[in-house]
Symmetry: C2
Subunit: 420 residues, 2 copies
């Protein structure tokens, strides 16, 4: 595992030390990336990973197989990463990256696995997060594993699973009558008040919001390494990524930069077109992309049952829009009706229960196949960012499906419940 050389702000390229916990570039409020001594890394890091993993400890079998390009830290691990890549049974070029197989059933485990490992390394005692749901669940789990207190702020109408996660993992759970943007404001105000009140430094909460500290994006970059390794160290033609905060997309792009510099991918290989998929009920990136804007506007009246996509203004919007345009991809929004139809289509025809976020991506894929913009043979990696099983309540509600528990107990043996 390499030492961090420095932290670098995304656009201005200011350098900060990683010896102390950092949030944003204090001069510009930009996000920070982790940077290594790449000359040193070229000598030590190798993509010949499977042989190494076999010889290493059992905990190295997940995303820590990429330890040679991750910060030098003792992992707080729950088995995150190295998720299945499943070939579609209908579209020969389409691969589903099944992130629902992660701990806490979502890709969020990668970013928070690394960020909490670093927080423990720094000796932080209180971590706070505004979340659309799954980041809260993941933080609660990793904080519990690390012996750190988690403070969760999420909309009160998140999937029930996210609420339960917070409670059972022993977190400090705040259900907010608002959106993730309200949650972010509340976390910020609380920390400001704690500082104003002169709380001892170790009692002040650390804001572990994605892109407001450097390590969640660093953990998520492993999705980029993994998809390339699982395709035999080649790029696909396109990557479809459900975009709430969009940080997975940013992390993958960083991974592609690094892999090219390390020579793990031949220089000049054509990068995949990056597609950001949203719900039409909350589509700030789609709107900004279509209007040719550099940044997004706060999306008014955000509403969709794809809970993870209810992010009215992603903090990394500018970086995301840059990547979409540079790669030749774009942003597409799907209605909740199209998302639900795609969930049922994929369940019935491929045996996969996608999350609503993942189904926003498959719905958009169908649209591009229908229009001819994509061919079924184009090699596409599509991320199912979470397990459909985390959304049983949301999916059932969207389907108007009755619970078996509402049956009269006198129902005769063999009775069949049909959906209403």
């Amino acid at each position: 595992m390499p030492k961090i050389a420095y932290l670098e702000s995304v656009r201005t390229h200011n350098r900060l030390s990683a010896d102390v916990p950092q949030t944003l570039d204090p001069a510009t409020a930009e996000s920070l990336y982790v940077r290594y001594d790449m000359d040193e890394l070229k000598k030590t890091a190798t993509r010949d990973l499977p042989a190494k993993a076999a010889a290493a400890s059992v905990t190295s079998l997940g995303m820590w197989r990429y330890a040679c390009v991750l910060p030098d830290v003792t992992p707080v691990t729950l088995g995150e990463g190295w998720t299945p890549m499943l070939q579609s049974k209908r579209y020969p070029g389409l691969y589903i990256k099944e992130e629902g197989a992660n701990p806490t059933g979502a890709f969020k485990a990668r970013g928070l696995g690394l960020a909490v490992s670093m927080a423990k390394h720094y000796g932080l005692k209180h971590l706070a997060v505004p979340s659309a749901g799954n980041a809260a669940g993941a933080l609660a789990a990793y904080a519990a594993a690390a012996g750190i207190t988690a403070h969760l702020y999420m909309p009160k109408d998140v999937p029930f699973a996210n609420y339960l996660e917070g409670i059972v993992y022993g977190a400090d759970v705040h259900m907010v009558d608002g959106l993730i943007s309200d949650c972010a404001r509340l976390v910020g105000e609380e920390i400001k008040a704690q500082k104003a009140a002169g709380l001892p430094a170790e009692e002040v909460w650390f804001d572990i919001s994605t892109l407001k500290e450097p390590f969640r994006v660093e953990g998520k970059k492993t999705m980029g390494y993994e998809l390339v390794e699982q395709l035999g160290w080649t790029y696909p033609d396109a990557v479809f990524y459900p975009t709430g905060g969009g940080v997975g997309l940013i992390g993958m792009w960083k991974a592609f930069d690094e892999m090219e510099e390390l020579g793990w991918i031949e220089k000049g290989s054509k990068r995949p077109k990056m597609y950001a998929l949203q719900a039409s009920g909350c589509a700030p990136i789609v709107k900004a992309y279509d209007e040719g804007k550099q940044v997004s506007e706060f999306y008014q009246h955000a509403a969709t049952f794809a809970a993870g996509l209810r992010v009215p203004k992603p903090y990394g919007d500018q970086i995301i829009l840059d990547i979409l345009r540079e790669s030749g991809g774009r942003a597409i929004g799907s209605t909740d009706e199209a998302i639900l139809a795609s969930i049922l289509d994929w369940a019935k025809n491929e045996g996969l229960l996608l999350s609503p976020e993942g189904a926003a991506a498959t719905a958009a894929y169908d649209e591009l196949i229908a229009s001819g913009e994509l061919k079924p043979t184009d090699k596409v990696v599509l991320f199912n960012t979470g397990a459909g099983l985390k959304y049983t309540d949301m999916i059932a509600e969207a389907m108007h499906l009755r619970r078996p528990g509402s049956l009269p107990t006198s129902m005769p043996v063999g009775g069949i419940i049909t959906p209403v």
Copy 2:
């Protein structure tokens, strides 16, 4: 992948052909095991698997890494197997085998992954299963992937996730006002009636109940291969297995037989003590073990929130009891209160949300640590057979936890919900 030499009944050792679909030994009603030409296998099968997997297709990264000891069939795969093995943060010798990372969130994916692959190979069109919940969900998913119709019979009070799985995967779902034993009876009666009515052979349902056909146990044996490989091709001191039907335990024992014969494990290595863990509300194996019986009795008034353990009389009871005694292990039951306490303990202190079945195993582990029968340094592999996230409704009910959805919408921003 080796050809199947023959199918063999467990005790009488009658041989049957695998050229046609088989259920039980017609002469003795015993379960059937898959047998290979072991002399041939010794020449062709190798435990040097990681190198092979790296060169193979992406779908070979799960349990199909053991293709060299599985039947020669085209896999219907959803990414099952090769689940994380997590070292406990408190007990240095304890490892959690996290089967919740499987497709459909449970170990059932292994057995049904293989059984549905074989069913497709045989050209079967209708598969029926009585289930405590998770087998129904897994069959529904794999049948959907294979283009086969699934007929599910499960108790009406299974976790809601199991019901939803059946519906979204497009299965024929029967919610029964009874237990899995009632479900099994109904499936048997339906098939009998279909035959009596002279339905064409391809329209008659095939009963894919575990141990009533040979391939579910064959798929589950991969848990045995995996735990040994992930421990560097050595045995642990003990294996803790939540036991409803108990077929995972039977499958692992078969894997140990095979690995020893193939020389993957040194001859004379001491096998792990096998522990079968149940809920005291449904503990037929515990009762039979404690009373020194060879078979179990039907457990009256079976009731526990560990839905997967509500199996009043496992079909493989005799095999299970033999294995427990031969290995020097035993059977232990835990109350629902102890199971819930263990769920909360593991969530808060290790960051893992276990299924109630998995927590029946951790509760028993605690008991043996407290009594001194086990030391924290004894190497134990404990199976969490399913994802806690599949049981949000059962766990919440056991905790008397309110849903955030029941909040008044006028609740002020920042309001905190506390569990009642």
